[in-house]
């Protein structure tokens, strides 16, 4: 339960921040570059893993609140379903924002192009909502599974020898 050494702690703090920025880049550019809601959400969710491995569980569980992650997951799923329902005049999951002008509504030239951010209609919106949902879900899995470990139980130490 005690934290790691100074070197590892500092680098973990800095890396957690850098990977959060990079995960947001992956989520926002999901319709242009490889990536999207699932991958970016998994990258951002390593923020929790870094905090857990650098500071130990007890200190971290006093910093974060689990209810917030539940809220994030429910809000993400709700936005996703309602973005699907809004195109209901045509079909479910109809991309009503694409090429309609305004935010996320400009057209794309055919063939290879450098890529513009305000394209692709509801796909960008759904990327954001699914990213929110995956961040909440994976962080909750990590936190609840760690709260199932009982630190007062003895840690079995065997020989670190050659097996088989």
């Amino acid at each position: 339960m005690n934290p790691l050494s100074v070197v590892a702690r500092t680098v973990c703090n800095l890396f957690a921040w850098f990977l959060a920025v990079f995960g947001i880049y992956v989520i926002v550019h999901g319709h242009l570059t490889p990536g999207g809601g699932f991958q970016g959400g998994a990258v951002v969710a390593t923020f929790m893993a870094f905090l857990l491995v650098a500071h130990g569980g007890r200190k971290m569980q006093s910093w974060v609140r689990k209810e917030l992650f539940t809220l994030m997951e429910c809000v993400g799923l709700t936005i996703f379903i309602s973005a699907g329902l809004l195109g209901m005049s045509n079909t479910f999951f109809f991309n009503f924002l694409a090429k309609a002008g305004g935010l996320f509504g400009s057209t794309v030239p055919l063939g290879p192009n450098p890529g513009a951010l305000n394209t692709s209609g509801t796909i960008a919106l759904m990327n954001l909502s699914v990213g929110l949902e995956v961040v909440g879900g994976l962080s909750m899995i990590l936190l609840y599974m760690f709260s199932g470990v009982h630190p007062e139980e003895p840690f079995g130490r065997e020989e670190t020898g050659h097996d088989r």
Binding site: A42, L142, V149, H150, R164
Partner: protein
């Protein structure tokens, strides 16, 4: 020449998958699973699927190892065996 790379990736996948099942120590097994996930991700990369490669790299190598190790911490490292049985 690029096919030598492909062959070595495939051979590594087979060997690390075998090691994953073959090791008795559970931590060794988890390390082999991380290696397997790493090379599966590289194979996805070779087969022009970078979306899936990011997902496999993030989930298989980072978070999956993390939850396996949390579970091992809660459960103990050795496999339980009775005398005289396999």
């Amino acid at each position: 020449m690029i096919e030598v790379l492909h062959l070595s990736i495939l051979v590594t996948i087979v060997v690390s998958g075998f090691l994953t099942i073959w090791f008795r120590n559970l931590l060794s097994s988890v390390i082999s699973l991380a290696v397997l996930s790493l090379f599966i991700s590289l194979e996805f990369f070779y087969m022009q699927a970078p979306d899936v490669a990011i997902a496999e790299a993030g989930i298989g190598a980072g978070l999956s190892t993390a939850i396996y190790i949390i579970a091992l911490r809660a459960c103990g490292r050795k496999q339980f065996r009775k005398e005289g049985e396999r």
